[in-house]
């Protein structure tokens, strides 16, 4: 036995003690904010919007919507981006919670289902008002928490059916279509395809000639579409794609096969290029979840609760986790979607749940 390791041991135990102390004091602070719930002055509220990155137009419009809301209540939004990296997202959340702000409002896009639980637990402990969107495991419910106000998502079955119906109308109710699926083991791909199948049942004249996975990718959709076009030839009257990137890839394939304008194409997500294509008439339809609204609404709900204008206990169970309304974009209304914009009245405390399309079950 030598003496040398002892300073290290002492240092380690000191660190441990410090960590334990820090943990205790943090908990104490958490208890305090929880009792204060709902009594914040509007000026004390801190708004945080977190998305994956600003390099995709959808998430950029989300942050722009958050800024617009923050401006309307005389605050600024703190913009966080984690580059699609789950670990980084958790780090950012714990850093922002560790600052100990009492009136923190978070509008978060969790990277995946499994990332939601730690965010919810952290926010609950710190008493921060949290709204999550898109991803959460089915058994984790906002109703079981005090400050996780709402979870917002979109019904993929519905959007898949909407564009399926739009295509059926565009080809006059009869003819063959091909379907380009997303990454097969994601909920979005499964739900959207289930929507197409529902639409096919409704439109008996439309037959599904073939369905292939193109993994939400423009390049893969191009190759797959070319192959399917040679396989089925003139029988293909329409192409259903589970997202806009694949729809745009299919448009390129049609152009290369000399079939531009002869085959109807529809996708989902309303990315700017697709909205432009719908406006030009080269694409039939796409579906918009309205990213700017998503960016604003999460902060608005949290802000209303933090300032006491809404009480968590008074929010209907159906509004704690819900499908929000989505919009079919066709040539008739494409111009309205080409520029992201927000409507101030959507974010008033009495209206924040106006776009609830149904409870998330």
């Amino acid at each position: 036995m030598r003496i040398t390791p002892r300073p290290a041991v002492a240092l380690l135990s000191l660190t441990l003690a410090a960590a334990a102390l820090a943990g205790c004091s943090e908990e104490a602070a958490g208890d305090k904010t929880a009792t204060d719930a709902g009594g914040c002055k509007p000026a004390d509220v801190k708004l945080v919007g977190q998305v994956r990155n600003e390099s995709n137009p959808y998430e950029a419009s989300w942050l722009a919507g958050g800024d617009a809301f923050a401006k309307s209540v005389g605050l600024t939004q703190e913009r966080l981006t984690y580059g699609g990296d789950s670990t980084k997202q958790q780090e950012q959340i714990s850093q922002i919670l560790a600052k100990g702000d009492k009136c923190l409002v978070l509008n978060v896009l969790p990277n995946g289902d499994s990332d939601t639980a730690p965010i919810v637990k952290g926010a609950d402990k710190a008493g921060a008002y949290l709204v999550t969107q898109w991803n959460k495991p089915a058994d984790l419910k906002p109703a079981d928490y005090k400050t996780w106000v709402s979870h917002i998502t979109y019904n993929g079955v519905e959007s898949g059916q909407q564009i399926g119906d739009a295509l059926a109308t565009a080809i006059g109710g009869s003819g063959g279509i091909i379907a380009l699926q997303g990454v097969l083991d994601t909920a979005a791909a499964k739900d959207r395809f289930a929507g197409l199948q529902a639409s096919l049942k409704k439109n008996p004249g439309v037959t599904l000639l073939d369905q292939q996975a193109a993994n939400f990718s423009r390049a893969e959709a191009l190759t797959v579409t070319k192959t399917l076009l040679t396989k089925h030839g003139d029988k293909v009257k329409a192409i259903w794609a589970a997202n806009d990137d694949m729809a745009l890839g299919a448009l390129e394939a049609l152009q290369q096969a000399g079939l531009s304008g002869k085959v109807a194409v529809a996708g989902i997500d309303a990315v700017p290029d697709a909205v432009k294509a719908v406006n030009d008439g080269t694409m039939t339809a796409t579906v918009s979840s309205d990213g700017t609204w998503q960016g604003g609404i999460g902060l608005a709900i949290g802000f209303c609760v933090a300032t006491g204008k809404l009480k968590v206990a008074d929010i209907a169970a159906a509004n704690r986790a819900f499908f929000a309304k989505q919009f079919l974009v066709t040539k008739a209304n494409a111009a309205d979607f080409s520029q992201p914009k927000t409507t101030a009245s959507d974010f008033e405390c009495g209206n924040v749940f106006n776009r609830v399309a149904g409870p998330l079950t």
Binding site: A60, A219, V224, K226, T227
Partner: protein
């Protein structure tokens, strides 16, 4: 086999389709073949293609800026690919970083550069010539396919008739022997990587032409498919064997396989697995004669 199962597979239209679909993969595989012949491996194609795709889409006529450099823009993108290849080569030779790690790093750098250039707005190309490459046809095949054929020819000539090509073989076969006989191996290694990079750069340009837009993910998956195609064609991962023409055959086999599975109507849920299985079987069949001669397969 596919021809028996599906009448459309036999059609002339589908043969054209396979050739057109194989164009980009053929060019990328051409590049990677030289690296494999040398006994190294190159995983940088995804990043290099992404960077060159963004570069070319921002330099020719597009919706983001007023550039309209045409062919010059394409040349710059290919040179950029060349520079990235050079970087991998230098990391391998000077810093002694193993090739798979060096090229993986370069791929990440390429993707980073591409993301910076992407800057949130997708550049759509309006350049009539570059778009025309994918659409216009000459003797039934798109211009891109003819470019790929030209690349294979150039690749074969380099492999057959230049010192670079001959040494690439020799380095893969027995690097020590070559070094002992007084050949400076290092510059040739860097040159081979630079050559491969130039092919990836051109591949990135071709993807951009096909998609009509510069995508960061332009080269996604090409690294794996190109290595698969080269190996299926008979180029050994241990180096010293194979060549550009072998790889061209490998590319066609891989494309026939993916096309055939769709044509025959194999469910997409099964395709990935079936494809992998056939590739492993093909490689195993190619390697069996090797094992008999007691060569270790890494």
């Amino acid at each position: 086999m596919f021809a028996a199962l599906s009448p459309q597979f036999r059609s002339l239209g589908n043969a054209q389709n396979i050739m057109d679909a194989a164009a980009v993969l053929a060019v990328v595989t051409c590049g990677i073949t030289f690296v494999l012949m040398m006994g190294s491996i190159d995983l940088s194609s995804a990043g290099v293609m992404g960077a060159s795709a963004l570069t070319v889409s921002l330099l020719v006529a597009n919706n983001r800026n007023d550039n309209d450099l045409g062919l010059l823009g394409i040349a710059v993108a290919v040179l950029l690919g060349c520079a990235f290849g050079c970087l991998s080569g230098l990391a391998l030779v000077l810093l002694k970083v193993p090739s798979f790690m060096a090229t993986l790093g370069v791929s990440a750098i390429g993707l980073g550069v591409a993301t910076l250039m992407f800057a949130g707005v997708q550049p759509n190309i309006t350049d009539a010539m570059l778009k025309g490459w994918a659409i216009d046809r000459f003797l039934g095949l798109s211009y891109l396919t003819w470019i790929a054929v030209a690349c294979i020819l150039v690749g074969w000539l380099i492999q057959r008739y230049t010192r670079l090509g001959r040494y690439a073989y020799a380095i893969g076969g027995a690097e020590e022997v070559l070094a002992l006989s007084g050949v400076k191996v290092k510059p040739y290694k860097v040159a081979v990587f630079a050559l491969a990079g130039a092919f990836y750069g051109l591949g990135g340009v071709m993807v951009t032409s096909q998609l009509g837009a510069g995508l960061v993910q332009a080269g996604n998956g090409y690294d794996f498919s190109a290595i698969t195609a080269a190996v299926v064609g008979g180029t050994l991962l241990t180096g010293g064997r194979g060549g550009v023409l072998h790889s061209a055959v490998g590319v066609l086999l891989v494309m026939v396989l993916t096309n055939g599975l769709v044509q025959v109507g194999v469910s997409p849920y099964w395709q990935g697995g079936v494809e992998g299985l056939i590739v492993v079987a093909a490689v195993a069949a190619a390697v069996i004669p090797q094992r008999r001669r007691n060569q270790v397969v890494k």
